[in-house]
Symmetry: C2
Subunit: 188 residues, 2 copies
Amino acid sequence: MKRNKKERQSLLIETIQDNPFITDEDLAEKFSVSVQTIRLDRLELSIPELRERIKHVAEKNFEDEVKSLPIDEVIGEMIDIQLDSTAISIFDVKEEHVFKRNKIARGHHLFAQANSLAVAVINDELALTAKANIHFTRSVKQGERVIAKARVISIENDRTKVEVISSVNNECVFKGEFDMFRSHSPEQ
Amino acid sequence: MKRNKKERQSLLIETIQDNPFITDEDLAEKFSVSVQTIRLDRLELSIPELRERIKHVAEKNFEDEVKSLPIDEVIGEMIDIQLDSTAISIFDVKEEHVFKRNKIARGHHLFAQANSLAVAVINDELALTAKANIHFTRSVKQGERVIAKARVISIENDRTKVEVISSVNNECVFKGEFDMFRSHSPEQ
DNA sequence: CAGTAATTAAGACTAGGTACTAATAGTAGT
DNA sequence: ACTACTATTAGTACCTAGTCTTAATTACTG
């Protein structure tokens, strides 16, 4: 159990990282050293005390909450919409959207942006995707900004066809044709 | 500033709700009452102390983080996989996956499950979706468990076709054919 | 074996509380 | 006017999970 200082300290960092809720007392027990040693370690490594750590996690959460609510409705940020006609949204590809290995955006995020835009453009309280035919024409990398444009191409009874073209720097990266189902026909 | 008890208490709830990081002392000042009054109020309303509140917020965050990490890799839980052959994942539709109005799962989540399964089944470090043809055959409601089964139907050079069928209680809800691109052909 | 590094201990103090007891102020009922 | 009751305030002891400081002990190394 007893390791040298360096080993203990690097383990300490790991331990606290994947469980910030652990007290000095628990850490002391875990590493079979005194509480004071743990405190010296934290001092050297400038790891804040339990309560401060918890506070940081909570603060991050609090910020995220505000951020993740709109994401639940439309993936990407809606910047223009004409119901039953056209809509535009932008989506910035960040770390959490890409494969770790190659920083290429995972397909379902591009799909999600396009699909939610297709849903949003329809002037109905209930719009569902029935079919979709999609092409990923170029891979999108982390840091790129995807602009999706939706265009309603036909409305027939309860079916609406929407075409979505997403591009980065005017280069098409995704193209999809969505066959949408709506509960009510428009203007009735 | 001085309101009656009821008014103060309902304001207290609101205040703490949109800023859980406020101390009793600050609250006392805000409502021009003593710290003890605030503590009695919290007791009556069963609002926990600052540190407990912060901890709850942090814990919620921490759960989410753990939850969202695997989500980043495969949407749904992988329960079986034979590389370049078949794979199965399950996905429980929860509150955060549905439209608020009608509790129907948003299409992109079903797509994400299927798409990430199609990526996973391919025995290559780089697999990207090139094209997909998908059908949402039945709407999925909150609380339902979607079982997605992927089957590799052809491998040709750098292209692999994967069929994914997702079902709830043995009833097909989603069907997709994914045309996947891989960086290396298998077994070379 | 001395000298330094690492560890442990002990004591005083802090924030932000809980739990409990007690005093005071204000108001309504009879 | 007296009583009953509610609301508010005050004060004390105690708690957790620390900080900061001083000091003693132990371990390792040249």
